[in-house]
């Protein structure tokens, strides 16, 4: 995997297609990797919308011809191009910032929870940040799972505490990071912080809508460099 090859599609005149990659490159092209890539970021496979065609992939399949050569099989249909095109609007929606610290050994989780409580209380007291715009993650426990499937009754040997927040002002975003500076000497002892350099990020919220395609005119310009 340290020398991944790009996938190559060899498309014949009749539309039949073989997926492959350069010899001596890493990775693997087989029906399993093709299937995963095929489904990546797909919604309804019967109506995959591009600007020029709506594709029906429902019947797609992959057949391995030999190592790293896979043929696309099945009845893949195209439908009329959409009458509408998608437009994304980016809207400035304030700022976000995060901080990350670590605890180790027995009781690490309890110390992380105490530190989170201290930071949280101070942020509610000194900023305009509300509960719904603050997120607390215990990395190693619930940062991805959100405790959604089962409640883990275990304490890891080391744990990351991450607090991230959305704010209306840059000052409040800065305050989140500042709390992680001061918790070093003003919270539960034994903090590791690493080299991480946090920064304030401006939030650009995306809003999507559809407009009739005849409202969109396209042109191109060639520039000499």
């Amino acid at each position: 995997m340290d020398n991944l090859g790009f996938p190559i599609a060899e498309v014949a005149k009749d539309g039949s297609t073989i997926i492959t990659k350069l010899p001596n490159s890493g990775g693997i092209v087989n029906p399993a990797t093709c299937a995963e890539q095929m489904l990546y970021e797909v919604g309804d496979p019967a109506n995959y919308i591009h600007a020029d065609v709506v594709t029906d992939f429902t019947d797609i399949g992959f057949k391995e011809l030999k190592r790293n050569r896979v043929s696309i099989i099945g009845n893949i249909k195209g439908k009329e191009k959409p009458k509408y095109l998608k437009v994304n609007l980016g809207v400035k929606e304030g700022y976000m910032a995060e901080g990350l610290i670590f605890y180790a050994g027995q009781g690490a989780y309890d110390r992380a929870k105490l530190a989170a409580d201290v930071i949280k209380k101070r942020l509610y007291k000194y900023t305009r940040i509300k509960k719904k715009s603050l997120r607390i993650d215990y990395i190693g426990i619930d940062s991805i799972h959100s405790n959604n499937y089962e409640v883990y009754n275990y304490s890891p040997r080391e744990i990351g505490l991450r607090i991230a927040g959305r704010t209306e002002t840059k000052e409040d975003a800065w305050r989140i990071m500042h709390e992680f500076e001061t918790i070093d000497n003003n919270g539960p002892a034994g903090i590791a912080r690493g080299l991480r350099k946090e920064d304030i990020k401006e939030i650009i919220g995306y809003y999507s809508t559809l407009i009739p395609r005849e409202y969109v005119s396209t042109s191109f310009e060639l520039l000499e460099v």
Partner: protein, 104 residues
Amino acid sequence: MSKIFLREICHARSGDKGDTANIGIIVYDMNDYELIKNKLTAKFVKSIFKNFVKGQVVRYELPRLGALNFVLHNALDGGATRTLSLDAYGKCLSSVILSVEISI
């Protein structure tokens, strides 16, 4: 009846489009396709992610691939540019679902 992790019979990939996430789940052996069709209902998948998937979960079938595609609406805290989640693009959702146990 015994239990297995989904990971023993399937592989998966997940990603995002705005505030929508999708998880494609594919069987290794076509003989297991009926089993996952029965077990992995849209309702079941929604229950796994109920803490953060606010919208509907829709299931699509791709029989020749031996795959199910789940589309999770309002699933990513407003999408990658807004979310406070570490998994901003929902790419870990595939690993989370493969760790689910099902009875066989």
